[in-house]
């Protein structure tokens, strides 16, 4: 009997059947629809039509990149400061960071309208000071803010987890050897927290690049993203399923490439640390 096996392989078969039927087969459907006409004949025209959505693709990638970078820049110090706290305080802050995630994603996004609207909280406050109203809602900035807000716990948590496992003696050794606080950060803490940074980046970038609610609510109709295009086409009826599938396929490939590149980074980085 296998040392690690607690039972027979057979008990995994319902799951394997399930995954094949509801994970693999549906993805094959996406690929099939992407390369066929509504009548089922082979065509490349769906793929060619993606050119029409290049603005949406471009905006998705641009906004998501900016949002991911901002998220990283504000999460990293947060994670670092968390590791410097007492253990009980660390646990409490963890719960505090996670808690907004249990609020419905749509409401979390919608609340920002209350804050940013032309007659919203910020502008009401500003008008009392005699400024404004500023145009805050329906701007690219509002979309990026929504992305940062909705997905920031996905960045803080992996960085914090990796950082809190860094052995203190390494940092002590660095300071004994004459490294000042900047060099300790640059030569010890940042390289060792790199795997957390990478997993944070992927966990934020993927939902950002494929979102469709944030852009509709906070971006008005000028800042539509690739997710919006997919949603719109699928709601336009079966005749549009094929083009929508082509867009989904491209989005999926984009995400896979991104994950692959990120994986490559962590592997090589870990190798250099070792």
């Amino acid at each position: 009997m296998n040392k690690k096996g607690f039972g027979s392989r057979i008990v995994a078969s319902p799951y394997i059947l399930w995954a094949a039927l509801f994970v693999i087969v549906p993805l094959i459907f996406v690929a099939y629809f992407a390369f066929t006409t509504p009548d089922g004949a082979f065509t490349l025209s769906n793929i060619a039509q993606i050119a029409k959505y290049k603005k949406a693709f471009f905006q998705s990638v641009l906004y998501s990149l900016i949002a991911t970078i901002i998220t990283l820049l504000i999460s990293y110090p947060m994670a670092y400061f968390m590791t410097k706290m007492k253990v009980t305080a660390q646990k409490m802050i963890m719960v505090i960071v996670m808690l907004p995630m249990w609020m419905n994603f749509l409401i979390r996004t919608y609340s920002w309208i209350s804050i940013l609207a032309n007659k919203g909280i910020i502008n009401t406050f500003l008008s009392r000071l005699g400024i404004g109203p500023l145009k805050l809602i329906n701007t690219p900035g509002a979309v990026i803010l929504g992305m940062v807000y909705d997905f920031i716990p996905y960045m803080i948590l992996p960085i914090y987890t990796v950082m809190s496992k860094i052995d203190d003696s390494l940092i002590e050794a660095a300071s004994d050897l004459g490294a000042n606080s900047f060099n300790r950060l640059k030569k010890v803490i940042i390289p060792l927290s790199f795997p957390g940074v990478i997993s944070g980046i992927t966990m934020v970038f993927v939902p950002c690049v494929s979102t469709f609610y944030i852009s509709q609510k906070l971006g008005g109709n000028k800042n539509l993203l690739i997710g919006d295009a997919i949603e719109y086409l699928f709601n336009s009826g079966p005749d549009f399923y094929n083009v929508a599938s082509a867009l989904s396929l491209v989005l999926m490939i984009m995400i896979l490439v991104c994950l692959f590149v990120m994986n490559y980074f962590t592997d090589s980085e870990e190798a250099t640390i070792l």
Partner: protein
């Protein structure tokens, strides 16, 4: 440095909770707007409780969450056991790669792919409506399964296999040995998997949106409500849900620390 870090953490907490505070605050608005405050009133809570559409959606969401979490916990635990028994590394890796797909892939792609599949099947069997309760349940089980498996598997791996061998030597059947020896030692991670599946299902919007048809769950209802002008009753309902989840989390943490203590004693 210490004050600086405190200020930074405080600012981040402010950023994280500003929208939550706004939601709670405007749920008590006596007016109809969610950004112009007129006065305090609890009337939106009353109207949330009497809104049958909302209560129906809440009931549907709970049904789907309980069923999908239960089914995916059973299937997923069995899967973890079976996958660990695989002898060939290639098959194991292949199955684990497929398991990772729903976690890694964009929700919208998962939702769209399932919808295409369900619509196709619906056409074949000549169903009047191809999307509904069954399809949304299948979709939720599908995206819950990987989380259950990834939660159960590490704990299962760390369990001492000699315990089960001892049970077998003492005359247990393999099935009995599994339920008497293995399940008690991994029950915390099975429970964690269940809770994770339950909350993921409760909160899911994107995948449900493409697979639910007319079976309107709460996130879908909220989506449809935010298409029109939102009144504070949505905020009132969301505040109530937020508080329930908060209480659930505290209870879960208390249960967790209790079992930690038990392990500490043993």
């Amino acid at each position: 440095m210490k004050t600086l870090s405190r200020i930074y953490v405080a600012l981040m907490v402010f950023f994280l909770y500003a929208p939550v505070a706004v939601m709670v605050f405007f749920s008590f608005n006596s007016g109809e707007s969610v950004w112009v405050f007129e006065g305090f009133s609890g009337s939106w809570y009353l109207s949330a409780f009497t809104n049958t559409e909302m209560l129906d959606a809440l009931r549907r969401t709970l049904i789907v969450a309980i069923l999908s979490a239960t089914i995916s916990t059973v299937l997923g635990t069995a899967a973890a056991v079976g996958i660990l028994a695989f002898k060939k590394k290639i098959t194991k890796n292949a199955v684990m790669s497929v398991t990772n797909i729903p976690i890694m892939n964009a929700d919208i792609v998962t939702g769209v792919s399932l919808m295409l599949f369900f619509v196709f099947i619906g056409k074949i069997i000549g169903a009047y409506e191809s999307l509904g309760f069954t399809t949304v349940l299948i979709a939720h089980i599908t995206f819950n399964l990987p989380y259950v498996i990834l939660s159960v598997m590490p704990r299962l791996k760390a369990t001492d296999s000699s315990l089960q061998e001892a049970a077998l030597d003492l005359g247990c059947t393999p099935v009995k040995a599994f339920f008497k020896v293995i399940v008690p030692s991994i029950k915390t991670s099975i429970f964690t998997g269940f809770i994770m599946a339950f909350t993921l299902s409760l909160d899911d919007f994107v995948i449900s949106y493409f697979t639910c048809g007319h079976y309107q769950t709460l996130p879908i209802l909220i989506y449809n409500m935010t298409k029109k002008t939102v009144t504070p009753d949505v905020y009132a309902l969301s505040t109530l849900i937020f508080i329930s989840v908060f209480v659930l989390l505290i209870l879960y943490n208390i249960a967790g620390s209790k079992s930690d203590k038990k392990r500490g004693v043993a």
